[in-house]
């Protein structure tokens, strides 16, 4: 507190009047270099465990390398192979197909369930919420094993179909070229629907009741009310839910690995599984790395597009 020591009546110090003088870097309100020190630990960890491996992966994708011996630089050949290979192309197509089950269906179901559960009160609401959210808490591998049993040729699903007289529909679900991918997708739906519902429920609780009152006075029926109040009110949640579930769907690995290992044939092969197989079974590390890069770019692209579409009118 030097100011108090100054004799009263003395002219103010020159620095106070010279407003044009550049502010010192550590003046209040100015960004301070010391800030970098605060983020340094996190930044260091992020660099070591995320950025560096990412860059290294990109670098490896330019080599033909078996993972043991010296690799040879091949430029973009690995990328060309991805687009030329029937198998890898179909893996990406399967991933996009799975999006319908991982993302689209859960969003719709989640919203419907949220709208229904929101009308419940007391213990019933808590119970339903917990039950529907449960799959999020269980390890995916455990879920996969459980559903493998449900889908088994002699399993409960086929048993149920027999009981209700739909025996003609009985299938070896995970062994069918046609039904294996949707069957895996349904498991994904089962997992992510709870997450969607909980997020939508949280969003709905933030929508003021008077908006619904206003909509009703303004002549809205339940459907118009949903599109006028609920859906716009859930825009933020919708964006988050879509991004999360799309990422989950595109990079799905453990579920497919446990239930079908990509089979029968390549009918349930997905990019993550292809990366794993190329890198650790076929010793084509370069190709696996290139696939990983393509998958990353695809996820980035899709999420950016979704955020743009959903949040555009928000601004």
């Amino acid at each position: 507190m030097t100011a108090t020591a100054r004799p009263t009546g003395a002219p103010p110090p020159a620095s106070a009047t010279a407003t044009t003088a550049p502010k010192p870097a550590d003046a209040p309100g100015e960004p301070r270099r010391v800030g970098y020190l605060y983020v340094a630990p996190a930044l260091l960890l992020y660099t070591v465990f995320v950025l560096a491996p990412l860059a290294h992966n990109g670098w490896l994708s330019l080599f033909d390398w078996d993972g043991v011996t010296a690799g040879t630089f091949v430029g973009l050949d690995n990328y060309r192979e991805i687009f030329a290979s029937e198998q890898l192309r179909s893996a990406f197509l399967h991933a996009l197909e799975l999006l319908a089950f991982y993302s689209l269906l859960p969003v719709v179901l989640g919203m419907v369930l949220a709208a229904l559960v929101a009308r419940l009160t007391g213990r019933a609401a808590t119970a339903y919420r917990a039950i529907i959210f449960m799959p999020q808490v269980i390890a995916t591998v455990a879920i996969a094993v459980g559903w493998q049993w449900i889908y088994a040729p002699e399993g409960p699903l086929n048993g149920l179909l027999g009981i209700v007289g739909l025996g003609a529909l009985q299938q070896p679900w995970l062994g069918s070229m046609t039904f294996a991918l949707p069957a895996v997708g349904v498991i994904g739906t089962w997992i992510t629907t709870g997450l969607c519902m909980v997020l939508f429920l949280a969003g709905m609780q933030r929508i003021p009741q008077t908006l619904y009152d206003a909509a009703r006075v303004d002549g809205c029926g339940p459907v118009k009310e949903f599109f006028t109040v609920t859906l716009p009110g859930l825009r933020g949640e919708l964006s988050v839910v879509l991004v999360i579930t799309i990422i989950l769907g595109l990079r799905t690995f453990d579920l497919v690995y446990v239930t079908t290992s990509g089979g029968p044939g390549d009918s349930t092969l997905v990019p993550s599984l292809a990366i794993f197989q190329d890198a650790f079974r076929q010793n084509q590390v370069g190709l696996a790395c290139a696939t990983a890069v393509v998958l990353t770019v695809l996820i980035l692209l899709v999420t950016v597009i979704v955020r743009r579409l959903v949040e555009e009118r928000e601004r």
């Binding site: 003021p208 008077t210 009152d213 009703r216 303004d218 002549g219 006028t228 716009p232 009110g233």
Partner: protein
Amino acid sequence: MAEIVLDRVAKVFDEGARVLDDVSLSVADGELLVLVGPSGCGKSTLLRVIAGLEGASGGRVTIGGRDMTREPPARRDVAMVFQDYALYPHMTVRRNMAFAIRRQRAEEVERRVAAVAGMLEISDLLDRRPRALSGGQRQRVAMGRAIVREPQAFLMDEPLSNLDAKLRVTMRAELIKLHRAVSTTTVYVTHDQVEAMTLGDRVALMRDGRIEQCGSPRDLFERPANAFVAAFIGLPPMNLVEAPVEGERARLGAAAIAVPPQVRARLAEPRVVVGLRPSAFRHAAPADDAALAADVDLVEDMGTDVHVFFAVPGLRPALPGLVRAVDELSGPGADAAVEPSVECVARLGAGRPPRAGDRLTLAIDPGDVHFFDPSTGAALR
């Protein structure tokens, strides 16, 4: 434009709470009726029943001569203004205002929105979203959204409560002018008795799901039907003290007040509740015989006048149960103390304001005294 008639409207919630108890009320075409009362009195519920947002458990709601009791809100052709404005956040001001008339022809919608926006001076805000507006601007948009519809009636649920005090006074004046301009039947809910007194053609004061009194603001102020109305209307509130009646006079400590014979005739026991407006007190002149010794507890200097709070020892607060609903009265005097005394408030001229601890001698204006039944609280006159 339409008349609104409520005929013995009741509302019982599922948990068995009787929120509206056979309320009958009629609002004339073009009238502005204010529903006022303490929180929980059922005034908002009554408004929601008129709007159709709540179904009535009994009775009839008629709007413009048509029985609307079972009709959904959309069919009632009423516009509502909410306390939090309830503007659709993702729509611009223009779309918010046009939303309820979206089925009209586009040019007609455009014309009406433009006209109302001009009237409310919000034309330059039409392309903004509610989030980008101040509280006062949102309030105007909410009003505009209601006016654009040209409905049979406006229903307003504490529309000024979210504004700061100064803006509230401005908007109150604008509301009066606005109502004069469009003269649409309006039911206005508020808990603020100042709003009720200044806005309403008529005021209906509610308590516990019932209408205690309905009349012009002046009526409620000058001829309150009971002690509750007397205590609710007026600021600072009326002083209510229970006084023994000795002969022709009620004894208030050292002072005595003449009790008219027709009042005395209706008393079952020799005691009466005396209601004194703060303005009934003045500094006593030596000649005054009805003077009261007052020990000043607290002085609020309002500028043009001062509110003086003082205790009158030896008196009992009147009808504590009856007036407890009035928040302002739940002061220290309301609970039984060891030595009974009543906290009173007087409004005195600003000249030489007293200080806490002073002893004043106050005279009571005998023309400004109200009497109430000590057991029922009903006005005696």
